[in-house]
Amino acid sequence: MTQPKRSTRRRFLRHSTALAAGAGVLGFPAIVRAQSGPIKVGVLHPVTGFLAYSGNLSRLGARIAIDEINAAGGIKALGGAKIEAVLGDAQSKPEVGVAEVEKMNQGGVSAIVGAYASAICLATTQAAAKYNIPHVVDVGVADQIVERGLKNTFRFAPGYKVVSQEAINYFHIMNTLAGKPARTIMIIHEESLFGTGTANLLSRELPGLGYEVKEVIKHANPTRDFNNIVLRIKAVNPDIVIPANYYNEYALLLRTMKQQNVQPKAIFSVLGGAASSFKFVKEFPDVANGVIDVNHWYNPKDKRALALRKKVEGMKEFFTYEVFLNYQCVHLLADAIERAKSRDRDAIVNALASSTWSGHFMPYGPTQFVNGQNQGARPLVLQVLQNDIKVILPNTYAQTEPVFPWKA
């Protein structure tokens, strides 16, 4: 007991010095928004977690675009400055997305492209708005993303209201042209924002056009057994089945329908997770054939799209909407930086707001943003025919006639 008691003050000082040093490391890294050198662009996607598949494809699309822009001489208005991708992983969680935005702000990014899922986009756009970082939303179909008055947020692709509305119009046209063989409908959707929102909209609008929505079934993510749902479809026997879900559930639902020999007059999906995916067509050709989907798609007559498809397939990857939407979003951003003649965030936000970019291969026409939403953005109607995905409507982009009703 002769030993003095541990010197709490000295220990406290030692610890607080360490803490202060730690805070210094965290707190004062100079905010580098250099006026020369590469232009930093945040590429933020959920590359791990349950959205990893889509997140990685999104990242791929953005990286291809950045490589192409740099190879073509960078941003000319800024003396050929190169674009540097600052990669971020939202880990499929909104709060991690926010942390990544904070980090990217610290790292001095001029803009952010991402973040695939609606729930993550809601959080990241808002976090980026604090610093007025221009945020180009690649997919995020929830319309609330562009309805909150955030000046920094720009969505190039359509939201689910436009997609669902167009789906209803095209479906009605297709059915009318075929002599109205379909009258009853059943909707199978996943439980989150996208599936539920789409299903609500469809079941509200379709009766107005004379269709009867017999039943709406919601399923969890993930669902690995669709036997009961398909038995229900069999019992209700609708003319049309409308699925609105992600890749795995979509594929499983259709496979189970095939197994149980359930063949409606059409499987007509809205933003179907698998229908417009070459992966699905390759893996399950017999199930995929005939499926109709209203989804993000490129102008099939545009050579640039076909060249990109070849390039992506050459990399042994599938040419999905994640890839080409991110590719286009980076180009949209590059155009804005070019016109802003600046890497300054405010200038890029203004350039995006006044963007009339037509150098893309999407069926959108020149960009025009109202409250952050690209007004011309619309989906196309696709059908899997002879193991390929063909555009069937509208006629301007159609590669072939719709096969409806489908006879297996």
Binding site: R6, A23, D89, P94, E95, A119, L122, R148, L193, A220
Partner: protein
């Protein structure tokens, strides 16, 4: 008393952070660390001090979060008025689950499974009812004003979460030093002996789960105010439950400082692995997992266990 002073010093030190640190990134790290510490403290009261391991603390988190969002979005309440209601509902949920499971003597893995099941049930309910926004979730309208518990500067959120964490500390300290806390720890160590000594086991556990529920609901309320969006998966999913138990397990269960220490370590580890291995997807998570496994295997009593062991060794040397 020394511990109370330490809590006060901690609170003052963290409160001073915004005066020195302007970086949004660093402040976000501090805020999210405190947030994880709060969830950890909530779990620690029931799991650490009370020995009742819950795998479904998300049920309280989600209830607080949804109460906060529903009252604001659907009923037009002010966030400051919604907060006490959210906390009360979190406590009520604790009372409900506690009454049902403790009444029937559920312990150990049975109790863990029941809490997990409750969280799942509420996830499905939140997914179904319209007033929770069903699968679409609820979005709290943006209004960066303190009058609506939204802050233009991260400092505001830091003070809010710090307030909750300090409350968590004070409760933990009280559990360590009060008669009730002694009963709770007696129940944890040996329920039968405690009962034989006249401790009202049911009442003691029930009170613990109510307190734990209130604190966890505060975490949920904070989440909604900070990120402005909640859906059934975020609210009642496994994520919140795991986050709540990870910090005290790593930091040291049944200790006052364990949850904060665990949260700080986990965040430091998460940020470091993310910053070091940013470009290869998933490598950081794998590294995080490996370190976590090592920590749990070699430090079963958490990081606080190391301090205690050192303290004990020192004590015996000098005795």
């Amino acid at each position: 008393m020394r511990e109370l002073a330490a809590i006060a010093v901690f609170a003052l030190a963290v409160a001073a952070v915004p005066a020195f640190v302007t970086s949004g990134y660093a402040l976000n790290v501090v805020i999210m660390t405190l947030y994880a510490a709060l969830l950890g403290q909530a779990w620690n009261i029931l799991g650490g001090f009370g020995g009742q391991f819950s795998f479904g603390h998300a049920v309280f988190f989600g209830t607080g979060a949804y109460a906060m969002a529903v009252l604001q979005v659907k009923f037009g309440w002010n966030a400051w008025a919604a907060l006490p209601a959210a906390l009360a509902l979190g406590g009520a949920m604790g009372a409900l689950i506690g009454a049902l499971s403790f009444r029937y003597g559920l312990r150990g893995s049975y109790f863990a499974l029941v809490t997990l099941a409750f969280a799942e049930v509420f996830r499905i309910l939140a997914n179904t009812f319209d007033f929770t926004g069903a699968g679409v979730g609820l979005m709290v309208p943006l209004a960066a004003t303190a009058a609506r518990m939204q802050f233009a500067s991260p400092a505001g959120y830091l003070y809010l979460i710090l307030g909750f964490v300090v409350a968590g500390f004070v409760v933990s300290w009280w559990l360590k030093h009060s008669r009730y806390g002694a009963w709770l720890q007696a129940v944890r160590d040996n329920e039968e002996s405690a009962a034989a000594l006249g401790v009202d086991v049911f009442g003691v556990k029930l009170r613990a789960i109510v307190i734990s529920g209130v604190l966890m609901a505060a975490g949920g309320a904070f989440y909604v105010q900070y990120l402005h969006y909640i859906d059934p998966h975020i609210a009642y999913g496994l994520g919140a439950s795991v986050e709540a138990l990870l910090a005290p397990i790593v930091g040291g269960m049944g200790t006052v400082w364990g949850p904060l220490l665990g949260a700080a370590l986990l965040h430091a580890l998460g940020e470091t692995t993310r910053n070091l291995m940013g470009d290869a997807p998933g490598i950081n998570l794998a590294a995080y997992g490996v370190v976590l496994v090592l920590m749990v295997s070699f430090m079963p009593r958490g990081v606080m266990g190391l301090f205690q062991a050192r303290g004990a060794a020192r004590g015996s040397t000098h005795a």
